[in-house]
């Protein structure tokens, strides 16, 4: 009987000494460290609070790198049982290769965006403490989403992200922003609730919320399993703005101040995307995952092609970038039909795996760079109409360069992280004979080339005779360039599967 089994397993539960798991405490620290910033931000003046927030962003990057080094050196996932209680009773944190990779990526991008935000909300105003509080909660929520193994703790992480992200959309309090924020919140809440319904069905079927344990106990042909996974997927897709649920994203991401847009577009949506992948890679029984993979890849295709075309049709720069986010989300799902769900990955499969996650990382850097650059361009020109960007290259050359370099990665041109990632996906698709995925990767690259070049060409035009530009300090322009250059540096990693990303693969 299950009951007897549970009781005998209970002997193994209870308190566990942490001696054997050295990197573990760092995982908990990565989640709570950003929250410490709430104290100075709420109690001290805005300047002290801002300094503390930036210091915490830097520390967070350091911590993420330490965790990744530990995972990389040991070759095994880092585990931590909160309070010393093992699952199924307690909550476990776990950093495998992909979560450590996401951790470092998001911490680095977050640090970069923080340094940009420190130069002010625009030329004359600094960000209020509320912005920094929301940003730090985004950082905490992201780390929790990448590390938690417990389905309900992940729900809390998703809500933490939602509650922090939605107000970022309407920081200026304009009606259009508030409307976009409300739509975003309603989509996000529906997404959370569907996810939660799926999670309770998993619990009712398996008696645990721990992803690893539940994966062992789920029965592939029980109706509850498929329905639960489907509910969670729809919920997460709504939060990730995966085609066809992307409609909330462009107005929300395009309306915010540039630093907030960058946070939302490069980082916040990565959490539901990552969890969507976790669900099908780490939780779903292999036969179900094999059936779902093509469906998700088709949705990804829809995102790449449809949202790519919508991006091409935009007349505003920020909206174009936001649609490009909705399009670029698609690539990582192209990876799913190219990997196996039972047993170790073959060579081309691990190439697809590496390509998919590398794309997530490269997109985070390039998208943050592009949104910040676009914000600075709009500040200098006083508008963001793509048709009259002429003179931008003279007024804010560094920002235009950052936009173009970030765009290289989106277009999939060498040398860039996006290029390497897309070549990996392409190679894997061809080697496995899945031609349509190869075609989608190529078409998506063409569309991205179209919309990025349109902006760059317009920005290189001569200024209109009566145009006047606002001077933007160098410091404010340079952060986007740094982020864009990181996306380029990612392009120098060798074109082969990264062992690091395979650590702890279920």
């Amino acid at each position: 009987m299950t009951q007897d089994h549970a009781l005998s397993a209970a002997d193994a539960s209870g308190r566990l000494l942490m001696a054997g798991l050295p990197p573990g405490p760092l995982l908990a620290l990565a989640i709570i460290l950003p929250l410490a910033g709430l104290v100075p931000l709420l109690l001290l003046g805005p300047r002290a609070g801002e300094r503390a927030a930036i210091a915490l962003a830097g520390l967070g990057l350091l911590l993420a790198i330490l965790i990744a080094l530990q995972v990389g050196w040991s070759g095994t996932p880092a585990l931590y049982h909160l309070g010393g209680w093992r699952p199924p009773l307690g909550i476990m944190l776990r950093a495998d290769g992909i979560s450590a990779g996401m951790l470092v990526t998001s911490a680095a991008v977050f640090f970069g965006i923080s340094l940009f935000a420190a130069t002010g909300r625009d030329r004359t105003n600094t960000f209020p403490p509320t912005f920094w509080m929301l940003a730090l909660c985004v950082a905490s929520g992201l780390n929790l989403a990448f590390l938690a193994e417990d389905l309900f703790t992940l729900y809390v992480a998703l809500e933490l992200l939602t509650f922090a992200a939605v107000p970022l959309v309407c920081l200026d309090g304009k009606a259009a922003q508030l409307k976009a924020a409300l739509t975003y919140l309603l989509f996000a809440l529906l997404g959370s609730l569907l996810y939660l319904l799926g999670a309770v069905l998993i619990y009712a079927s398996t008696g645990t919320l721990d992803i690893g344990l539940a994966a062992q106990r789920l029965v592939a042909n029980a109706p509850a399993t498929g329905i639960a996974l489907a509910l969670m997927s729809v919920g997460l897709a709504a939060k990730a703005a995966l085609f066809p649920l992307y409609l909330w994203l462009p107005p929300a991401h395009a309306g915010a101040p540039p630093a907030a847009s960058a946070l939302l577009s490069s980082l916040v949506i990565k959490a539901p995307i990552f969890l969507l992948l976790r669900i099908w890679i780490g939780l779903a029984p292999a036969p179900l995952a094999e059936q779902a993979a093509p469906v998700l890849a088709v949705l990804g295709t829809g995102a790449i092609l449809f949202c790519g075309m919508r991006a091409l049709a935009q007349s505003r720069l920020k909206l174009l970038i936001a649609y490009s986010t909705a399009a670029q989300i698609g690539y990582v799902f192209l990876m799913l039909p190219l990997v196996t769900y039972s047993g170790p990955l073959s060579m081309p499969e691990s190439l697809a795996w590496t390509g998919g996650f590398l794309h997530l990382a490269a997109h985070a850097f390039s998208k943050a760079a592009m949104f910040i650059a676009a914000g600075v361009i709009a500040e200098a020109l006083g508008h963001d109409r793509i048709s009259s960007l002429g003179g931008a290259a003279q007024a804010v050359p560094i920002s235009v360069a950052a936009f173009a370099i970030g765009g290289l990665s989106l277009m999939g041109l060498p040398p860039s992280g996006g290029f390497i990632a897309k070549v990996m996906l392409l190679t894997a698709a061809i080697q496995q004979g899945v031609a349509w995925i190869a075609v989608v990767v190529l078409l998506g690259g063409l569309l991205a080339r179209g919309y990025v070049l349109r902006v760059v060409v317009s920005a290189l035009q001569r200024p209109e005779t009566d145009a006047s530009f606002v001077t933007i300090p160098l410091r404010r322009q340079s952060m986007a360039l740094v982020l864009a250059l990181v996306a380029i540096v990612l392009g120098f990693i060798p074109l082969q599967p990264m062992d690091f990303l395979l650590v702890g693969r279920p």
């Binding site: 309900f152 809500e159 309603l186 309770v200 508008h383």
Partner: protein
């Protein structure tokens, strides 16, 4: 056992009703109420799972029960945040209608 099933069915009913309200009601505050009904239905499914899992001297599995308490508080926070946005949106729309003649152009 049979007796608890009725609560599961009620939970499923609330999920459907809440979903209907979320999709069909136009007023944002009304939608927020519908979200709470949807949430209430999901929490009842937790309660059903808890009651089925009674054992070891407990009349219900305490873990799903504790999760519902967390969930109810999170749902209230979401309601308060959404309502605040609605209130601010109404005010901003009224202000922008008043300022409409000199609306300015920005992205």
């Amino acid at each position: 056992m049979i007796g608890w099933t009725i609560f599961a069915l009620a939970g499923a009913g609330l999920v459907g009703l809440g979903l209907y309200g979320v999709i069909m009601r136009e007023n944002a505050l009304h939608r927020i109420l519908a979200f709470n009904i949807l949430g209430g239905g999901i929490f009842l499914v937790f309660g059903f799972a808890a009651r089925r899992g009674a054992g070891a001297g407990f009349t219900a599995d305490p873990v799903p029960q504790a999760l519902v308490i967390t969930g109810v508080v999170v749902a209230f926070s979401a309601t308060a945040l959404a309502t605040a946005i609605v209130v601010r949106l109404t005010a901003a729309q009224a202000e922008e209608r008043d300022d409409a003649p000199h609306a300015k152009d920005d992205g």
